[in-house]
Structures are given as C-alpha cells and as structure tokens.
Subunit: 247 residues, 8 copies
C-alpha cells in the first residue's frame, strides 16, 4: 500500500492527478495498510524486547534454527517450555545461552532491556509450582525487571508467608503462582497495595481438574487488585507485570 | 482521516509538500481510517438489507423509538425476540408492521430485498422448536429468500421426514432446527447435497442442559456439509443461509 | 419377619419342626428384617436428637403440621431453610419456637441434647456467608454443642482472622464457611490441629458458578485435615462436626 | 450367621432356650446375614451364567490365573477389554478359548446358557463403533441369546439403515451403538416397538468430548423406549438386553 | 407416492408401460413413502395406547383443546407436567378425567390398554422424588401395567429398603427413582434379577447440579442390568418399562 | 426390494396380479428400499468426488489396502490424519500419491473434480493452527476449488490481517481457523459479505480446554454469517465450503 | 496484644523481667496481632479511598443506613449494583449522591481521591456491555482516575474500533469489556503497549453460558499484556486499573 | 523478627529505649513473625508425626535423598505414590523401609506415633479401589491408628457389606472408598453413628469422568455425617480420620 500511496503522491505532485481524484481513489481502499510495516516495527520495539520462542511442540532443530537467527540479529532470546530431553539435544549448539532447568527456558541477553521502575515479586505456593514461577521470574528478568523470588509459601503454612511480609511489600507488582486451591493470590492481595497478577497452575490431581479449581478461585478473589492469566502461563504473567512495571 | 488526507494531497498538489515528506507523514498513522465511513456504508448495503433490532431486554418504548427511526429512513424492519407481553404494549403503535406470534418478530417490508437464487428450506424437529424455526423463516424472508417450511418432522418419526423428501431436495440451503438429541441435521445432511445450517434449540430438560446436548450432537454431525450456529439462534442461521443463497 | 421368626421358633420348641427344617426355611429369606425395627430405633436414638425438617419447598401449612407432631412427641425441633415469607405465615402458630432470621431456622429445644465434648468453632469468610454459617451454628447448638462464632474473617483481611487466633485454637472441631474463592478452610486448617469441616457457599457471581469455585478449592485444600460437604450445606457440616464432637 | 441360627434352633429344640429368649437374642442382630451365602449363590445362578473378568488393567498373568480357575470350575468364561498386546501373551495358554480381535474378548463356552426368548439386534453407526458393538454381541451370545449384527448403518446414510428394516424388526431387544452425534438410537427407536438399549461410544474428537456428546444425545432421545448405559459399555448393554430377553 | 405407484401399476397392467420401464421409473424415487401412512398407523397402534400430551409450557386452553379431541376419538388420555395453577384452570372442564396432584398428571382411561405380563415396581429414594416416581407409576398404569409403589426407601436407611425385599422381588421390571447421590438403582439392581430402569431426579442443591450427580452415578452403576433415562423423566422410564413388560 | 418390485411388475404385466392387489402388497412394506442402491450411487456422485479415508487409528497396512482399492477404481483419493510415523511406512507404496506433511494428508487426483465457482480463502490465526488450515486447504483443492491460503494473521497483530484485506475480499467462501481465543472468524466476518466457516482448533493449553474456548467463542460470534464445525475439523469445513462454492 | 506487649515492656523497663524471659514469653504467641489495628488502618488508607457498598441483595433501607454512615464520616461513597427498583426507593433520601442509571451506581465524592498518573480507557464491545463498562468507568473516576469511554466498538465492525485508534493509544491502562465471543481484549492488546484489563460480561445466550465463553476467550488471549477479572466485574477491573494507574 | 525483638528488649532493659518508644517501634511491623519459628515447630509436632513425601513426579534419586534425611533425623517416613518402576530403582537403597505394592507406599516406622483412641475402618467398594483404600490404611497406621480393612464390599452385592456389619460398627471413624457411582459412603453412613470420610476414586470409565461422578455422589450423600476429600486422596482421608481419632 505504501508503494501505491507513493505513486499517487507522485502523480499529484506532478499534477497528473487532482487532489480530489487522488482522495477518491485512495479512500476506495478501506482497511488498507498505509504504513503497517512501520506499525509492526513499532510493536516490535515496544512489546517485549527479547524475541520469544514457544518451545513446546518444536523440534530441537527448529528451535536451534529460529534461535540462531534471533541471536544473529543481535536480539535478546527467550525460548520457553524447553523440556529436558529437548535441551539435551540443543545443549552446546547455541553458544552463550543459559538453560534454566526449573523454568525450562533458554535465554541469551545480548543487550540489557530498559529497566523497570520497581521490583516484581514472584510468590509461589508449593514446590511443584516452581516451574511456572521460575518461567515468570526468568521472563521478567530478561524483560528488564528486578525480580524477587519467594517460593514455597502456600497458605497452609501462613507463618512462612508472613515471614516474608517485608520482602513482599517491596513489590511494585506481584506475580502470585498457585495450583490446587489457588488461594495464595487472595491472601497476598490482602497484604499489599499493588497489582497482583495471579497464575493458576495445573498442579494437583482429581478435583483440581488440571488447574481449573485454582483458576476459578483466582477469578473469584475477594480482595481487589487481582488480574488472572491462563493456567501455567508464567510467561504471560511476567509480560503483563513487566508492562506495568515499565509504566 | 479523510479530511487529513485531503489536506495533505492539497499541499502536495500545491507543492508545499514533497511526495516523500507526504508519504512519511501519512504513513505515520497506522490503523487510520482512510475511507472507513465508506466501508461502513458498504457493509450496510451488503450485510442484511433490513435493519435488525434484538428485542430482548428492550422496553416497549425503546423498541418503538428505534423502530420508528428505521421506518422513517425507509428501511425494512426486523425486530426479533419480542415477547407477547411486550408486543401487547407495542401493538397498534407501529403502523404497517406485522407481528408473528410464533417467531416473536415484528417486521415491516418497505422495499423488497434482492431475491436469493434458490429456496431455503427450514426443517424443524418438534412443535416446541417452532419459535426458533419460525424466527429463521421470517428472517430469511425479509432478507429476500423464498422459504419452504417443513415442521414437526423429528427423527423419532422418520416416515414424516421422508414424506417430505421431495420438498427437502428443492432446497438450495437447508436450515435444520432441533432440540433434545439434535439428530435432525445429521439425518437431513445425509439426504441432500446442499449446505445444512444446524440450529440447536434449548428445548428439552434435564440432560439437555438448555441446548448443550443438541449443540454437541450437531457439532459432531457425521455426514459432511453441516455448519452450526448458537443455541436458539434462528436469526443467525437465516442470515448465514441468506448469504449463501445470494452468492 | 419378627413375627414369622417367632412362629418358627414356637414350632421348633413344640417340636412340630426340626431345627434342620427350620434352618432351611428361615435361610430361604435373604435380606429379611429380623429386628429391623429395633435397628431403626437405634438410629433414631443415635443420629441427631432433634428431628429435622427441611423447610424448602414445603408450604407453611405442611411445616406447621409436621412441626406440631414433632413437638407433641416431646422431641427437639429443627426446621431449616424457612424463608422469611414462609416464616411470616408460621409466626405465632408454633408456640415456644424460635426463628433465627439469619439462619432461616425454626427451633424448639424441649430436652437438651447430650453435650459435646469440646467447642465447635464456626468461622465464615464474608457477611454474605452468614446464613450458611448461622445454619451450621444453630444446628450444632441444638445437637448439644458449645458453639463459637467467628464471622467475616475472610482471607482478604488476614489480620482480622489472625486477631481471632486464640479463639480458633479453642476448637475441638472447626466449621469453615466460604464462598467465592473458598480459601478460608485452607488457611484455617494450617492454623489448627483439629478437623476442619469446609462448607462452600453459593455466594458470588460469574465464575463462582454458584459455589463450584469454592467447592473445588476446598476439595483441593493443601493442608491436611479438611473434609468437605455440599454447597450451602450448613446443616450437614454441623451434623458431621457434632458427630465428631460427641466421640 | 447361618451357623449361629442353627445353634439357636438346636437349643430351642432341646428346650435349653425358650422361643421368647431365642427371638430376643436373634433379633438383636440387625442387618445380619441369615442365609446370605445362599443369596449369593442365587445371584450367581441367576445373574449372568458366565463369569466375567474385566481385563483392562490386569496383567496377562493375572488374567490367565483367574480364567483358569473359572474354567476349572466348569463355568463359562468371558474376559472383556483384552487388548491385542495382552492377548499376544495369553495366546495358547488358555486352551479352548476364543479371542475376538474386534470385541477384544476371550471366551469359552463350556455349557450353553439358557436360551433367550427372541433375537437381540445389535446395530452400530460407524465402523469405529464396532469394538463396542462386537463386545455387546459377544456378551449377548455367551449369555444365551440369538444375536443379529447390523453394523455401519449410521444416520448419515439413512438408506443403508432402512435397507435393514426387516432385520431390525425381528428384534425382541435392540442394542444401538453410536459415537459422535449419537443419533442412531433415536432413529431406531422410532422404527421399532421393542426396548432399545443405547450405548454411546467415545468415538469422535473435539466436541465429542470422549462420548459425552453421544451420551447426552441418547439421554434426550425423543421417541420413547430408550434406556442408556455408560459410554463404551457394550458389555453392560448386552447384560441388560439379555435380562430383558430372558424375561 | 401411493397414488403414483397406483398409476404406474395401471399402466403396466394395461401394457402401456413395460415392467422394465416401470421399474426404472419407480426406482428413480429414493426415500419415497410407499405406504408410510400405513406405517404411521402401525406405530400409533403399537407404541403407547394412550395419547400423550406434554403439559409444560402449554396454556390451560391449549391443553383443554388437545385433550378434548383425544377424548372425542375415544383414546385414552395422559397429560403430564400439569402444574397445580394450570390444573386450577382446567378443573371441571375435562369431564371424567382424574388429576393426580403428586404426579401432576391428568388422565382418562376410556378403554383399558392390553395388560402387561408382570408387575412394574416403582421404587423411590426420598419423599421429594415422589412427583417423578408417581408420574412413572401413573404412566405405567395407563399403559396397562400392574404397578407396585415403594416410596421413601433411600439408601441412607437401608433397613427400610430391605423391609421391602419381598415386594421388590415380585417385579418383572423395576423403575428406580432417586435424586442427590442417585445410589438407589445400584443397590436395587444388586437385589433383583430383572431390568432396572433408573431415573435421576433434579432433587438436591449445590453439587447435585440439578440432577447431574444422580445421572452420572446411575450411568456408572456397578451391578449390571441398569438402563438410564433423562433427569426427571418418569414418563420415559414407565414407557420403556411398559415396553419390556409387554414383551 | 428392487428385485421384488421387478417380480411384482412382471406379474402385473402378465396379468397374474391386478394393479389393486399389487398396490396393496407393495405398500405393505413400510420403509422399504425401492431403489436405494441407486440412491446410494447418487450420493456417491454428488457428495465429495474423492473418496475419503480417515487415517487416524488405522494401521499403515489398512490405509494402503483401502487406498489401493480406491485408486484402482479410478477415484480421487484423500487420506486425512496420516501422522508422520504412519507416512514413513506408507511412503513409496502408494504410487503417484502426494503427502502433505503439514496437513498430514495423502492425496491422489486422477480426474479433476468439477470446478467451484469462486475462491475459497483459508485464513488461520497462528502457525500452530496450520495443520488444520492446511487440511482444509488440501481438501478444498481436491474437491475442485481454487484455494487462497492466508496464514498466521491472528487478531493479536491486526495489521497483518488487514494487509491481506484485498485477498480476503476475493473469497466466495472463507474458512477461518483459530485456536486459543478463537477471535479470528468474528473479525473476518466483519470484513466480508460471504459465508465464513469457522474451525476452532485444539491449539492452546490450560483454559483453552483443548479447543473448547475457541469453539464457544465462534458459536457466539457477534457478526452474522458464521457457521461453526467441530474442533480441528479442517476436512469438514472444506467440505461445507466446497458445497457452498459449487452451488 | 498491643496491651500485653506494653505490659511486658513496662516490666522489662522496671527490670522485673529479664529480656530473655520477655522474649520467651512473647514469642510464645504465634500469629498474634501486634499492631494489627494499625495495619488495618493502613489498608483502609491505601486500598480504595471511597468506601464501597455492594448493593445487590441489600434492601433500600440497608443501603441508606450504610451509606449515611459513610457519608457522615466524610468518606467518598460508591454503591454498586443498585437496580432501578431499589434506586426508586433510595432516591432523594441520600442527599448529594448521584445515580448513574447505566452503571447502576450511587456515588458521592466528598474529597477528591489522589489523581492517577494517566488515562484509563474503558472500551466496550456492544451496547449491552455498557452497564459493566460504565460500572468500571464510574469506579475508576471516584478512585481518582481520568477516564476515557469508548463504547460499542466490537470486533464485528473493526472500522469503528480503528477510528478510535488515537484515543485508545492515550491510555495508561485499558479496561476492555466484552460479552459473547469476548474477542475485543485480544484485538485491543494487539494495538497498545499498556496493560489491558479484560472483563467478560454475561451478555449473550445459549453457548455464551452466561459469560463463560467470553471468559475463556480472554484467558486464552493471544497477545501478551492481558489480565482477566471475573464475569461482569466492572468494579474489580477498575480497582485493578486504578492501582496500576497510581503506581 | 525474633532477633529484632531481642534487641529491642535489650535496649529497654538497658533503658536506652522507653517502653512507649519500644511499643511504637514494634507495633510498626504488622504481620511480623514474633516467634513463628516456634509455631512452625509446634505444627511439626502436632500435625502428622511421620514426615510425608509425595512421590509422584519425583525421581528415584530425589526420593532416596529426601527419605534418607528424614530417616537420619529419626522421624517416621511415609512416601506415597511410589509407582512400581520407581520402587524398582529405590529397592534396597533405603534400609529397613517397607514397600506396600498395592498402596504404592514406602514406610519406615522408627518410633510409634501416639495411639489413636479407637479403630479406623477402611471400607472399599471394588478391588480396583484397593490402591486408594490401602494408601489410606497404611497412612492411618503410621499415624498411630488401629486399622480394620474391609475391601470389595460394593453396594452391588449388599449381602457382602452386611456380612461385615459388626466389624463396621466397631469403627470410631470410617473411611469409605469408592469409584464409579460412589454409593458406598451413603450406604455406610446410614449404618453407623460415627463420622464417615468419603474418598471418591478415579476408577471407572466414560461417564465416571475420572472420579467426578463418584465425587458428586458423595457430596450429595443423603444421610448426614459424611465429609468428602479429593478424588484418589487416600492419604488425606487417613490424615483427617486420624485427627478425629486422636481427639
């Protein structure tokens, strides 16, 4: 479209086309992309400095291929959901990258992202929730945020959570990760005056219905200030938290 | 935007602006509406000649107000989901309109819509499904289609359905309406070689779960050629069928 | 059957029937009720001293009729789910009874039930949960228990809950009532070493799905020691708690 | 208990115990099993002559062990849900037995079961439904019934079903098996005047939700005379059909 | 079609048409209704002698109109789901009919239906289940069956159920009606060797999900011989039971 | 039946049977198949020129066997859902066939199908939706349609979709494929005036519930003109689209 | 607890208690409330300056009573979910308050809340979504935010949404409200680089399942940066958005 | 916090700080952990004497590592959900431990837990429910309870259950385990006057929906006195039962 617009403008300038005719002709194209490439570029700049690869379902070869291109461009790299057996085949073939075995992420930071304004505190309920929490933490870090990790402080042992009260209150944004009954975000949102991003996890069995119980609990969170993302979506929670922290 | 574009073109024409500068300046506005009013107009012309009012949840006064404006413009009118108690209050206050007590529609055809190319056959399973079927039929008619109604031919009495075999085969598009087990569209789709639009109804009780059973059945329809719309969405089925019939 | 057994025994005693024949003839009646009346009587004595009437769906006349019979027998009376409009018509016609407008119960205690061994603490999350909590409390009381009420201590305001720490720890059994995210029983079970009976309520809207969210949360309760009853089943929770408290 | 009753009767006969005392003592045992062994034996005789082994989840060794005991007793044998890889290890080790690879059953008929009174017609919708249909057919046969198989007559091709009209009408009981939209039982029940046992299968994908769509459809079956069993429960359908056919 | 066939046959007889041509021409009409009226008549004769009117959603005037036509024809009449407020307006206007306030049925038996071969025993769990149980009983009776009612024998009080053991065993078919946990059909099916038709009711609250809990329980019934119908479908259960009882 | 009809006609022709008697005798056979074989043949001709094999759950040997028969008959072949590991074993054994690794289809076009009248545009949201989109595209092509593929234009990047505005508007029918939030068909239906067939995919995790989220979104599509097929049913969408495109 | 602590400190100061003993004695009180009143006060100050009353289920008298107390304290007042019939009885009895008939809110701002840092843009899809959108807008305003309303810009008419592109981009936080297919937040999140709070509404029918379809769609939102709140929770969305906007 | 409190007390004692100032300073820390370590210790002592390891998802190496630490401390050990293939690798490497192949537990009792006051009776419905029942039994034993096992007494064979009537009545607490229709707890709760802990299992197929059917049935249990835990949660049931039995 840009090309077409250029041609029209040329014709107008050279007076082969009247402004009226040009207008008519141009407005004939609803929903056209006048400069969309530019928009695209904008979004790339703004939304998430690293380039993100969702690793699940991709072969090691595909991941290596995509990652190398990103690295070559000089971008930061974040590959999520890289299972250990996939990592085993990637290992050593993506120079400089780091594998976080808990988060199942492969990262490479070539140029630090702009720093967020405060701390993002990632709080998780149980040890089994750690992969999701750590995916959130790693993502938040590569997006330029200062991250505080507070893990294994589920509501069953309130004292452990309250022990961390001072650290929690340092947060500009909280990411709260929990499976099973998903009660942690409700409790945390009652303790702080900052946004809480709630991440249900699929941890549990039986009536957890793969995270549905935790998801519903979080959507019904009694104290205000809780926004919910999809089950196991540590990445998405960090992305949203980072957006907030960079405001 | 159109105004802005006009100004820019004027400046180019008067050579107060180079084409390059103009291009740069114009492409700076992603997602702009270059002629959207026009597009809007297009859609109005194309998509559904009558103007549609969804009556449910509107007061008689609101319906009368909106309907009168539409009528004044000379448009065709279709108000759906006008319950009898609402109609009792509208009655006599919208001159020339027709109330279909089964379909619960108020209509006024001021200028016939362009004719569809073939017949739309509306087939319904039980007498309780008639309101939805009739909403579909009335909608299809005001959209310019020749409509054949075949009601009360559920699969429990196959002979009644097969009796209508010849009439069914006249269809260019079939709309098949059924509640409860929702089997009719599957059977009908096996009898014809034209598209079948399936409409589940909320008729039933218990394990019908307000139309969910029929909806799922239709989505799993074994013979090909079936497209499904929302539960009780007679209007939507007719709209889609009419689009097809006007191709 | 008892009669039949008596007759057979008489015949054996009078030697009109041999033991072998008698055995053969008696064992021919599987699942017979040899003394079932007695069993029935046992159960009546043991299971819930008051007689319970589930008021929902009963007319005022029916409730009055049933209640009067129970009162005449000298039993304690508990009518649950008596909505205010029903109570308006019952009022004054059941002498000596008490109406609890929050619990929606009608009670009459003619002879105190045997005392439970400790305290039952009823803890509820929000003010909207009070009808269910109070139904539990009233039921537990008429079943002979010493009841402590701690209401409006939802997890959103942890300090309010912790303020009550000492009172909570006095419990021999806890009944924890919560709607919405249903997190309270999990938090409470982490604070005590006694059984926690969790009651989800239908309080909430949208994704609470009429108590389903709270129910699932409670079934997934992370700390041990939580048993769950049906949504809004304050009566059932108190019945179970009372059984435990009378052990 | 039988022993105890015998002893009591002996004591009464020898006049060491009065009938009154005996009655008192015997009726003191509510829910006792006066002859339950006999009852048990009754049920064995009556309910399904073959002994049934549910093969799923059992090791080949377990199946062989159980089956041999049954065979040794002279009973008929029916093992259901024997997957091919299990059968591969059983093969040749259970003399005289037959493996039906479609039904995934292992059977041995040592003494024919009493014959049912009419024919059981097993009708299935698609070829993928055949394992369930065949499990029903094999079960019905070993239970003593004359079985007619009519497969692959789904409602998408009504003519194929109607071709079989005469054979269907021979049925004393119909078993109708279908996955996906589960429409077959509704259509069949409209064609016959005998009981139709409907078996939903888990055949399908997406919105079939592993047979839920078919199950709901069948429960909502419009024509009367349809009883539904669990998803994929070919065995259960045949068992019920056989009960009916032996009445 | 019949007319057309007649014409063709006439032409063949008068040798204006060769058999070959006639065959070709006739077979050109797939799915034609060669005698369908007759079939229809067959079904009317066979399937349910009374004519059934589903009362729910019909106005008193509509019910009266339909019922009078049926009565005039000399048929037996069964109107189901006639709520008391509707009955109040029908009362006295349908001579000779009987209103069963529990079953919510209006019936008139003008000519007794052919008698079933044995007894249909209708067993229900709680007093709240009685409307559904009674609808089944009334339906079974007008269909010509000898009905035994055994109500309020839920599994919570097993002794009450077992007291009725002898009466239950008289059944040729059992209809077992239960809401809440829906356990009764499983227990009953373990006690008898005849078909059990299970009817879940919508009785209950919270996690009963309007009968879903009972429905699922019945579909998973452990003992064989259970066929399930839709929630609250007392009529359907009786229809199926009657079909079986007339075999 | 055809045979029987032939015989009857012969008898009429030879005057061994009067037309009246013949009529009576013929109409005695309700639901008989007067020429159904012919009907079947009709359907074969009309519905989907290629023969379709659903590959999932079939062994390589089965697929090869069925495919060879189809090829031998001279028909076009379409095998869907051929996973790579199955294809590895089929490869080279079905001469002339093409394997599309994205669509997981095996095809052979021996005689071009009749051409559709316009273009079918297949639009998919994400790269993960491509297998379903491509199954639709391949199916539409072998059914004789001119197919335009527009992939990876999800609503998250509206500019990419709008870039394709002109190509989208060329469609006579649109197939819109999307997983996760399933928003694409709604947006697309707002841009065109032709039927949109919406295909939800099982792409996503957590609260996508294997495509349920996308399915519900599509059924609730706000703009008119959308018909929905089952989750992942690329084939079904193409079949319906082709029916429409051949009208 | 504070009192107790004071006493202990006094004793230590007067050296009647050693620090060691004091420590021992104090630490004996787990979960004690050392200053919780203070904390409570903190929360009041920080979390939502106005006091909020959830109007649904409260009588006019209750609302008036609570509201007057709040007003007397000099606090700002926000009553949500005040249905017109309730407002009719409140009207004129709460001086100075404003009723917003669309939002169904009663408000009184006595002292302006601290101003948020940017604009909160509230975007809604359809006119039926306006009550929820307006509840969000009114809430955000009384919480001190500058609110921009952009209503009726659903994805079915993309041009209307894009027309508002510039206004949308002014947002520091976006609240996106939609029922039915719930696609709006996904599209909006693709257009901006700020947090998007998504609010599903219960608008729709049939397969919208009272907002479930929209809720699931939003949780699966493809572009990053979307946090979801409960169905119809306009208040909650505004509360979260305000927290973010005051960071 | 303890340290901080110590320091403050020291300063008060040495009169470097007035009690007033100290109070002010200390109360400035809401939610602080004054002695939480101690609390933690309390809980350890009280809640479950053995240390519990949830084996599922842990590698053999992880289990061995954790178990050895627990054993070294002298604690009792309970590892749950140790699948046979994991046990194969653990075997012989944890001296003195016992593997229960049915319960899939590894246990070591180094010091007997305090004895419960009565018997816990574990009743299960089918042989397939035994793993869950046995997990409950093993857990209850290591928690110090006298356990009675009554397995394979499902409601389909009531006589088997009633045979055990005397043993059941010895219970102080009953744990009732059942899959499929989940009817056993309802029947058992009608036979005893002690608390019944109901454990649904995921045993079943089709409409059991992995234990959902049994779960719902148990939540709707008609007789009072039933508390429900999560699907397959034998451990949790035993933990709750033990709490009750130690009261």
């Amino acid at each position: 479209m840009k090309k077409r617009l250029g041609e029209v403008l040329e014709k107008v300038y050279s007076r082969r086309l009247s402004p009226e005719k040009a207008l008519e002709c141009l407005t004939d194209y609803p929903y056209q992309d006048l400069g969309f490439a530019k928009v695209d570029h904008h979004r790339e700049l703004l939304k998430g400095y690293p380039e993100i690869v969702y690793g699940l379902g991709k072969t090691p070869a595909q991941i290596i291929g995509i990652a190398r291109e990103i690295i070559k461009k000089g971008s930061n790299l974040l590959v999520t959901r890289v299972e250990p057996e996939v990592q085993a085949k990637i290992k050593g073939r993506l120079k400089g990258t780091t594998y976080n075995a808990v988060a199942r992420t492969v990262t490479l930071c070539q140029k630090p992202a702009p720093a967020g304004r405060g701390k993002i505190v990632v709080i998780s309920a149980g040890t089994s929730d750690m992969p999701v929490a750590e995916e959130a933490a790693v993502t938040a870090e590569i997006l330029g945020n200062d991250v505080v990790r507070i893990y294994d402080v589920g509501v069953a042992g309130l004292h452990r959570l309250l022990h961390q009260y001072d650290r929690i209150r340092e947060a500009r944004v909280v990411i709260s990760v929990a499976g099973m009954e998903g009660a942690l975000p409700s409790v945390v949102a009652g303790l702080v005056r900052v946004p809480v991003i709630a991440v249900p996890t699929s941890i549990g069995y039986g009536a957890s219905f793969k995270g549905l119980a935790a998801l519903l609990a979080m959507l019904n969170s009694c104290p205000g200030g809780v926004g919910v993302v999809n089950i196991d979506n540590g990445f998405g929670a960090a992305y949203l938290a980072s957006l907030i922290n960079h405001l």
